[in-house]
């Protein structure tokens, strides 16, 4: 039987916050091939095909930043702070530096991060891509990001995080503050590809105003030392919507403690959390917390986990309703693949192994809105490859 252990504490002293700078790269085709491969794996296309802009940060240096669409501002947070005095009204307003030791490190030893703002009414057809990359061994990458979707704007950000194949260990601390104004829509797709001894502590808070929409997709299919995140979203304006989809795969030795909290503060707000986890030797703690503060809200949480061979999956769905007139539900299931499903497929001619892999592929096939076709194919391929390790 697999033992449930507490997540191992990260000792900040084990990681260095100071490293050498990397040169700015104007032409992305000049990026080293092993880095480029890693970028592609997390959805960041170095050819920039079908992307409205690109931001790449390697260790502490912004090595590329380019937006090719009018009405979209993309720059390092350092630059943005110099440029916009008003940014202080957003910066560290949603996430307090005192939240924990990671936020405080991100505040005191910030290594940049991105600032992305879409001007009012601007609808960006193609996704923007950002990549946060750790290349230096034992480096603690402390990031602070701010995204502002102004009134009536629309934007999709593909955010890939990865580490160089050459590092033994690393720490990624990412504080993100997202502001979705009235009637705006932000789709945020985060794809992670860390290493076996990489520790990851994102801290994200989003505020959504009236009629605003947040769609957040999180995909982690590759091994990671430990990952712990619990982003919080406040639906502050009437009719605001938040949807979270996550796809988690925990291989041997990986520890994923992942969930999200959505606070429904206004009438007519809706929230949905869908999570799918597969563990084969690792630990997944899948959390979800829906908080209904006013009448006329709707919220649903669906959490499903498969344990293949060995591993641990703990689903913690929470619902809190503070007034009458809230409509909240959850559905959680942890187990093995249903034999009836396997045999159903076998009756159609598949052998047992093909049947299982078809079911697993389906299980992980959460409908992720707005993914560029190339990226969808890439993810399907990664899922197929991961499956080989699972079996």
């Amino acid at each position: 039987m697999f033992k449930l252990e507490e997540i191992k504490d990260v000792n900040l002293e084990d990681f260095q916050s100071d490293v050498e700078d990397h040169d700015y790269i104007e032409d992305l085709s000049r990026i080293e091939s092993h880095d480029a491969r890693k970028f592609i794996n997390v959805g960041v296309d170095t050819a920039e095909t079908g992307r409205a802009g690109t931001f790449i940060q390697k260790d502490k240096s912004v090595v590329h930043c380019r937006s090719c669409q009018a009405g979209v501002e993309m720059m390092s947070i350092t630059k943005a702070e110099q440029k916009y005095d008003w940014l202080k009204d957003y910066s560290w307003k949603s996430v307090s530096p005192n939240t924990d030791k990671f936020t405080s490190q991100a505040k005191n030893k910030t290594h940049n991060g991105y600032f992305i703002r879409v001007l009012p009414g601007v609808k960006v057809d193609q996704p923007l891509q950002s990549c946060l990359y750790i290349a230096k061994d034992r480096f603690s990458q402390n990031i602070h990001n701010i995204v502002i979707a102004e009134e009536g704007s629309e934007l999709h950000i593909i955010n890939g995080c990865a580490t160089s194949p050459h590092i033994a260990s690393g720490l990624h601390v990412g504080v993100s503050e997202f502001y979705i104004k009235k009637g705006a829509k932000l789709t945020f797709t985060m794809i992670h590809d860390w290493g076996e001894n990489v520790y990851v502590r994102p801290r994200t808070v989003t505020h959504v105003e009236e009629g605003g929409v947040l769609i957040s997709n999180y995909i982690s299919l590759k091994p990671v030392g430990s990952l712990q995140m619990f982003p919080t979203t406040y639906l502050d304006g009437e009719g605001a919507v938040a949807r979270f989809n996550s796809i988690l795969v925990a291989s041997k030795g990986s520890y994923l403690d992942v969930g999200s909290r959505i606070i429904l503060n206004a009438p007519g707000t809706r929230a949905e959390i869908i999570s799918r986890g597969i563990t084969y030797g690792g630990t997944i703690i899948a959390r979800g917390d829906l908080v209904g503060k006013v009448a006329g809200i709707k919220a649903h949480l669906e959490c499903k986990g498969l344990i293949l061979n060995n591993g641990l999956m703990k689903a913690i769905p929470e619902l809190s309703g503070f007034v009458p007139g809230v409509e909240m539900s959850h559905e959680a299931a942890v187990g093995k693949i249903d034999q009836r499903e396997i045999e159903y497929l076998m009756a159609r001619g598949l052998d047992e192994e093909e049947a299982i892999s078809t079911i697993v592929r389906g299980f992980l096939n959460v409908n992720i809105e707005g993914l560029p076709p190339g990226l969808q194919e890439k993810l399907d391929k990664t899922i197929s490859e991961t499956q080989k390790d699972m079996m």
Partner: protein, 231 residues
């Protein structure tokens, strides 16, 4: 029980008599143990053959309550059934009124009728030589029952819907298929061509006659008469 090449047999029997168990055992599902007897298909003993090998040999089943497989689109399932056979899935779906749920997860929130149509679409793609149908008409409304009947006939190469220019006597020349059909109400008999009926009672085959005639007797006297008859 023997089902000859090209024959369609109807299996009657009261609830709990073992009709579905028999069918699941022929297909090879787990949870059924053969204590004696054997199953022969195309001259080969398949009693202990795995489920998927039976499927590959040409046994196909319409399951009454098939499981939902999340993330697996009905379209993909049909392609799985077709294996390497060429197939226009959209056209087939159109014929069987399955277009609407072709891109939905297989069996997810399907109505009773949708399940039957989807299962028949899969079987049509799969083209088995022995078709096992467990209550193909249950949950199907009157409007769709003729469609289901036609689909079964076409699948078994016995329908009246055949390509233009062909004559009635040409039907089945390319090899007929055999079928075993479970029915409770007998409604499906109004729509499909049958050869023989059998009654299963308490795990024992107790009658083998014309299907329509058996149905009339059951309607008239209930299974009591079958019991009396078999004793």
């Amino acid at each position: 029980m023997e089902i000859r090449n090209g024959e369609t047999h109807i299996l009657f029997g009261p609830n709990g008599s073992g009709k579905t168990s028999l069918m699941m055992t022929i297909m090879g599902f787990s949870g059924y143990k053969i204590t004696h007897g054997k199953i022969t298909f195309k001259g080969e003993d398949i009693t202990y053959k795995p489920l998927n090998e039976r499927a590959r040999m040409g046994v196909g089943v319409l399951i009454q309550r098939p499981p939902t497989i999340r993330g697996l689109k009905t379209r993909t399932m049909v392609n799985i059934c077709a294996r390497n056979r060429e197939l226009n899935v959209d056209e087939l779906a159109e014929q069987l009124r399955c277009t609407e749920f072709l891109d939905r997860d297989i069996n997810h929130h399907f109505s009773g009728g949708e399940i039957k149509r989807s299962e028949l679409m899969q079987l049509t793609a799969q083209q088995p030589d022995l078709v096992l149908l467990d209550e193909p008409e249950s949950g199907v409304d009157l409007e769709n029952i003729a469609l289901v009947g036609d689909a079964i006939n076409t699948l078994l190469h016995r329908g009246t819907k055949f390509p233009k220019g062909k004559r009635h006597r040409d039907m089945g020349l390319n090899g007929q298929k055999s079928a075993l059909v479970i029915t409770h109400t007998g409604h499906i008999l109004d729509y499909i061509t049958t050869d023989k009926g059998q009654v299963l009672y308490d795990g024992v085959m107790c009658c083998s006659k014309n299907a329509g005639e058996i149905l009339r007797w059951i309607r008239e006297y209930g299974y009591q008469e079958c019991i009396r008859c078999s004793n």
